[in-house]
Symmetry: C2
Subunit: 903 residues, 2 copies
């Protein structure tokens, strides 16, 4: 999964701290928003009135009243546009159209391949070329197009949506570019006939649609910019995505809930159902209008008998399918991850593939399509069937094993594909399952927009069919003993298998509902439920879900689920896992303390306590806020002001002494001093340098210094020395700073001289600024001793607090409920510790010790061997977080780093 | 619903504050629990080892090793019992058995009625007597039995479960008594053939089962006593309840989520699915084993055609069903509430009914069964069919209107019931719908365990059938124009109607899934979804759901849902709704402040701030804790100690002065003083009175004083004066206290003399306590001036905090997520306000003004007219909360009050 790696490079995200955000930020925002709304409302009404007046004036006669009426109607309509249901209907409509168009294009692509393959039946080699070239070209185009336009569009999208719904903002994930890349990339990828699915990408596409629609609608009303509302709409969009993909509104809602949420607001449930139903309805209506169908029915309609769907004695067979699917699902997830990790670890392969990015997709496609070539190996595994055709034949309600296939079948050629003149149908099925299994696991690592649900679904159906055919061969007259003969329906087994395997891979039970909606029959509900639950139980104890696995591979910030039945979770307490050494600032601290704290820690937020003695927690402040405070204090404007003041004072003094030549002299002296220093430091440039063209090592510095553009009112790039120290101490220069910290964490003054030379490389000498560096340092020392004024600082006045004895279970609940990133541990107002996602994750994954005993969930060791160790992960996560901080770092300038990260 | 009122009297509950609890309380609990576990584990292992040794010693030969093995296996099994899945399987099994047995008994009861009715066909009067007496007896028995054994078992149980899952503890709601009352009461009530349902009660029964099973299992392992685990298990139990009632595992889980939760943890989803599937499976397997069914199928299996279930052009008809059902559902809820309120308001009726509690059920039953008497009016409304039979016939896939019914039907007599020789089938259907509508609304107000889901479901099916038959009559050859004739299937309309009406009444969409599982066909998924969503949209804008309506009637603490699409919610902020005048205590306050605060406010928890100037919030303390602090300070043990000390000091002084007669004299003097006062206050009793037999007015006092038995170490009943003042100031004497407050809220001393007379009625003179009342008063004054020592006080160190600018929307989310009761509003650590459920509810229900504009959700006025005003409600709620405080108040002693409350 080289592509996953490379798009990770571009993955720049920001934790918004759903909880922390709302407190001050959002509040301020809401107020501004409300004010804006009121104002714009007034303005609009004034505008309307004036327009109305204009109209009245110019067309006093005829239809003036008519026009006023129209204007009013328009106004009313525009105000109505803000309603949720309009948004949801639009979203549903849009997604149904997208889904239908994508399906239509895919069908055309697949037909074209068949037509080419069929037309060249005179020459096998030409046939092979056509069969192979077509998907290779499509996949390569898809991969290249996605890579160029928006690398974020690669892959399923469900893992990312899960992260976004947790409150993390993934940059560039919900843009129009990504939408275009995902839709076109997906169409090409699926049109190639590779074993890929459209479900996951559709979740992403629907979310993209919702985000874009939100933006578009916000032109009419203000409400669309509310953060919590957007999250709600995204949750609904996920449901729409699944719903319109399978025409399965209920299953869509449930699947999207299971896959993306930890806690679900029942009020969103509504939105999901509404939008998904509308979307599925339109999606199917389009098929009817297009004369594909006579009326609205299920996508893969089955025709099993209703009166006696299955015998009670068949239930063990269904249970076996469930358990086997559980193991199979876990194996699939493991295999998928193994492939990614193998490619990443093999440096040689990796380097080669990184250079020729499109080679990997092309090679994989070549391999897969060669193996499915119908006159070749494909004849033994129904290779000529598309995914849809295979599924339709697998869910067929006739038995293949007992009766002769050829004579009875009226499907033109489709079911024929399963029957080989020399080979038993069982062998065909086994080969199909085995080959498709690794092919799907491999194909889903191609860096194109693709999901794994549908391939897995088909494999599950084939496995179920295999068991069903075996049962039918074993009991030709059915199991039922009382008179009537009810033959076994292998198609029912296929339904059960499909639900069980896809449930195992995704760790969901709602695949059962999807299966009912897809087939239009619910008669096998109990076998399906039993198999799905067993499959889930087995798969969950062995491996994370496919989406969680991808989350781990991509190193997205996540919180693992608490397994069920692990009692230990109730006995671990916050005091066992919290970090006791909290970085804090006090209300009466001076800027020097601020400086030190910022230099030594890398936390995104810092606790604000009353005094170091009382340790009463007052709130938390974002790092950026503190940096902005510091840059204001040490910034150039203040220094210039100081200079001006000093000059004024000097002038006053001068005027007292009445020496007119002194000003020139003092200037000359200061210039002398400067010159002296600039000879001292050779690379000092006396004129303002062009900021974009420094030398390479300098570039890296300057880009770091450029970073705090997010901070309002902080002209950092020409600020003082201590400030620069501070920003250089940002995590990109982590290793360097750590050494310094070890030397003397309490005396930053000692450190400064050693760095000054390096920093002055980018220090642009300002002609108006006539202070020498020594003077600046002195001035800064003085400034640093002043007390901090927190008045203009955004303080989160109610950071989330826990107490020592809060259980891990409860902590997990609260973190996932509120999407927290960290919480302070207090004891009667006193700050005593902090728990972040990191500690929590460690504790849940079992690497925390409680009272000396290492508590590990069962099978954790097996799980660990599959994934990278949690220690590794957390440092990786750190890097990610740090990278977020250097967000404005231009991508092209750091090829070495990106290479390293995209491994 | 007189019964609802009377059981409300017994409804004594306690807010556990899910959030507040976990902080200290639960933490302490968890630690103790963990310690207990460890200890018991050690003890057990020691015991095991010793037992093993014993075994080894006594039976050194033969099978000693065998036995050790057995012991170990046993131990292992017992440890496994703690696993979740064992619990869930047991729960599922138990509930399936209960459901099956209940169904079986109901069937027998109904058969018995039919048999009696059929056997007496010679005489219509006797027939009538039999037809009417049977249900009257059963319902009266059910009502009486429930009333006597456990009044909590009355009604549906879903509203209570919703409240319990929010974190409120309803006393006596999850006991074995209630279980027995509910199961037997329900069986009798449904056996009577009245239009009642079993769904709601089954949710309650399943929760009871889960709670009892938890208790039982806790004999084996310690984990079953964890609060958050219990809540999770209750959520799963609700799913099991619905699941095993309808054999609908998926619908059960979804319905229970929609009906009981605001936020749902996806990890509970699992438990629900697992248990509900198992339960539904066993429930249906029991039917197969009992030879009722050949194999496992749906409860109300339909046989609609699969190839062309409905035409696209029929969709408007389905939409009409949906919209009409929406209005119908709202009307049903309104009617139900109207009946309850009518009976409550009519004082005369109410008084009469309160005296003869069983009269109301008997009268209602008489009325309903008279009207359904088959030879009477019942012949026009298919009166002889039971609920189940009506549903089966309504879902039939043949058309009644077009074809003659008699010739084609092979159902013996059932569908015949719909056809009357003189009357059109449409008239029968209309009459059935109208009559059943008000009958169901009336019947569900009877104080027996009963739900309204099934009756509503049947009415909906009848309405759907009506529309379907009309469509079939209108388009005899179907609507489809292209060649093939697909006649309209009225049964499909019945399915849609059933889902839509039940969805509208309960405000759920999952009725759609229940319908699919009940009928075993999913072919009508789109019409059902469309109708259900439309019905919900209409019903939700008109009325609360039936369960919310009952919650309001019963005055349970609740938080209304935010409607969808109300933008205003995003613009209201906490500062608009918070109470700015917060009661608080400071860290360095003296007992007098404590006393004053307790006297003037009635909040359950009080904020603890650092100082009155800084107002930094340190935590919150429960009222009970403060009362206990105060009672410790002013309690008798301390006074006695003081006396002893004083005596010792005096003795010392005496021994210095060497005057042996002084002790007697001082005693005499004090007795004189006391005598003087006791003549002053005539009712002073010199001997200890028998506490249970005072005069009536005194009784009320004493019962109030008895209240704080919950407070540990507080021998209040013979404590001092100020303390008594305090406890008399409890809300039962609210009006009185309020007057006092108005007089002089800052000088409690002024108040005391006026009350002393009243209080001394129950003040038992203690012979050892030789202080005069004046001395006590002086001593207490001195004690009150001491600083409070908070060391032994349980402080919640992290009460939930909001900031002024938190939006209402977010506040609602947080309150419902965490089950909060109140939250403090802080600004950089400073306490500036408090928001409780009350304020939030007011704000949501639209009675809050933002910037002078009254924000009301649309249709709120309509809604208000139906329910009591929110102002009324909050005071009522206050009463409830207050009543909780006087929990140990013996029920029999306050008949006047309970009468008043049970109206």
């Amino acid at each position: 999964m080289a592509g996953d790696g490379s798009d990770q490079r571009a993955l720049q995200y920001e934790q918004t701290l759903m909880y922390g955000r709302y407190t001050q930020d959002l509040g301020v925002y809401a107020k501004e928003e409300a004010a804006r709304l009121r104002e714009s409302g007034q303005r609009r009404s004034v505008a309307d009135r004036s327009r109305t007046l204009d109209l009245l004036e110019y067309e006093k006669g005829r239809c003036a009243k008519c026009r006023i009426c129209t204007v009013r109607c328009q106004k009313f309509l525009i105000s109505r546009v803000g309603e949720d249901w309009i948004f949801l209907i639009l979203l549903g409509l849009l997604m149904a159209l997208v889904s239908w168009v994508v399906d239509f294009c895919i069908a055309i692509c697949l037909q074209a391949q068949k037509w080419m393959y069929g037309g060249l039946d005179s020459n096998v080699f030409l046939q092979y070329l056509a069969w192979v070239t077509y998907p290779v070209v499509l996949i390569t185009f898809s991969a290249g197009f996605t890579q160029i336009l928006a690398p974020q569009a690669v892959g399923s999208g469900i893992p990312e949506m899960k992260t976004i719904l947790r409150g993390v903002v993934l940059k560039e994930y919900l843009t129009f570019k990504t939408f275009v890349a995902k839709v076109i990339g997906l169409t090409c990828a699926l049109g190639s006939g590779m074993p890929l699915g459209k479900e996951g990408p559709f979740v992403h596409i629907a979310s993209l649609c919702a985000a874009l629609l939100s933006k578009f609608m916000s032109l009419f009303g203000g409400i669309y910019e509310n953060e919590s509302r957007n999250i709600e709409m995204l949750a609904a969009a996920c449901a729409v995505g699944v719903g319109c993909c399978f025409a399965a509104p209920i299953g869509g809602v449930l699947f999207s809930i299971e896959v993306t949420s930890t806690f679900f607001a029942v009020r969103n449930y509504w939105r999901g159902f509404f939008a998904a139903t509308f979307s599925a309805f339109i999606f199917r209506v389009l098929a009817v209008w297009n004369r594909d169908e006579e009326t609205i029915t299920a996508l893969f309609k089955t025709r099993f008998r209703l009166d006696f769907p299955f015998d009670l004695q068949e239930l063990p067979a269904f249970a076996v399918i469930g358990i086997a699917s559980g193991f199979g699902g876990a194996l699939f997830v493991y295999l998928n991850r193994l492939i990614v990790q193998f490619i990443r670890k093999q440096k040689a392969i990796n380097k080669f593939l990184m250079k020729k990015r499109l080679l990997y997709p092309a090679l994989v496609t070549l391999l897969v399509s060669t193996l499915t070539f119908p006159p070749g190996f494909g004849q033994f595994m129904a290779g000529k069937l598309t995914q849809k055709e295979s599924l339709v034949t697998l869910l067929d309600n006739r038995t293949w094993a007992k009766q002769g296939i050829a004579e009875e079948f009226d499907y033109i050629g489709h079911s024929q594909a399963w029957k080989h003149p020399q080979v038993n149908v069982f062998v065909t099925l086994v080969l199909f399952i085995v080959m498709k299994f690794w092919m799907s696991a491999l194909a889903t690592t191609i860096p194109v927009p693709c999901g794994a649900f549908m391939p897995v679904f088909v494999i599950g159906a084939a496995f179920g069919r295999l068991v069903g055919e075996s049962m039918a061969a074993w009991f030709p007259d059915g199991i039922h003993t009382d008179g009537t003969i009810y033959p076994i329906v292998p198609g029912g087994y296929a339904v059960v298998g499909a639900a069980a395997l896809s449930g195992a891979v995704t760790h969901t039970v709602s695949t059962a509902v999807i299966v009912f909606e897809l087939t239009g029959q619910i008669s096998h509900i109990l076998p399906v439920m039993i198999a799905v639950i067993l499959a889930n139980a087995v798969a969950q104890s062995l491996q994370p879900s496919l989406y969680d696995s991808i989350i781990r591979i991509k190193k997205l910030p996540y919180l693992p689920e608490l397994g069920w039945g692990h009692h230990e979770k109730y006995n671990i307490r916050v005091e066992d896992i919290m970090v006791r050494d909290v970085r804090y600032i006090t209300l009466n601290c001076c800027y020097r303390d601020l400086h030190n704290v910022l230099l030594t820690g890398h936390l995104k937020t810092l606790a604000l306590v009353e005094t170091a003695e009382s340790m009463i927690l007052l709130g938390s402040i974002e790092r950026a806020q503190l940096q902005s405070l510091l840059s204001q204090q040490l910034g150039r404007p203040r220094r210039l002001e100081y200079i001006r003041e000093r000059a004024a004072a000097e002038k006053k003094l001068m005027s007292v002494v009445s020496n007119p030549g002194s000003e020139d002299e003092s200037q000359r002296i200061s210039q002398e001093v400067r010159f002296q220093i600039s000879t001292d430091e050779s690379s000092f440039s006396p004129t303002r340098p062009v900021p974009q063209k420094p030398l390479k090592p300098a570039l890296k510095r300057s880009s770091v210094v450029e970073r705090p553009t997010e901070i309002p009112n902080s002209p950092v790039d020409n600020s003082g020395i201590a400030l620069k120290n501070l920003f250089c101490a940002s995590p990109d220069a982590e290793g360097l700073e750590k050494n310094n910290n070890m030397e003397s964490p309490t005396s930053p003054e000692l450190r400064k001289p050693s760095k000054r030379v390096r920093i002055s490389v980018v220090d642009d000498a300002d002609l108006e600024d006539d202070m020498t560096i020594r003077e600046i340092a002195e001035w800064e020392e003085k400034q640093l001793d002043e007390q901090v004024n927190f008045n203009n600082c955004k303080i989160d006045p109610a950071p989330f607090q826990l107490v020592e004895r809060t259980s891990l279970h409860k902590t997990h609940t609260i973190f996932s409920l509120l999407g927290l990133d960290h919480a302070y541990v207090t004891s009667i107002g006193r700050l005593i510790g902090v728990v972040s996602l990191k500690e929590l994750r460690k504790a849940i994954e079992g690497s925390v010790t409680v009272k000396g005993v290492k508590v590990r969930p069962p099978l954790a060791s097996f799980r660990d061997s599959g994934t990278s160790s949690s220690e590794n992960e957390t440092t990786e996560l750190h890097k990610l977080w740090d990278r977020h901080k250097s967000m404005s770092l231009p991508r092209e300038h750091t090829p070495s780093e990106s290479d390293e990260k995209s491994q």
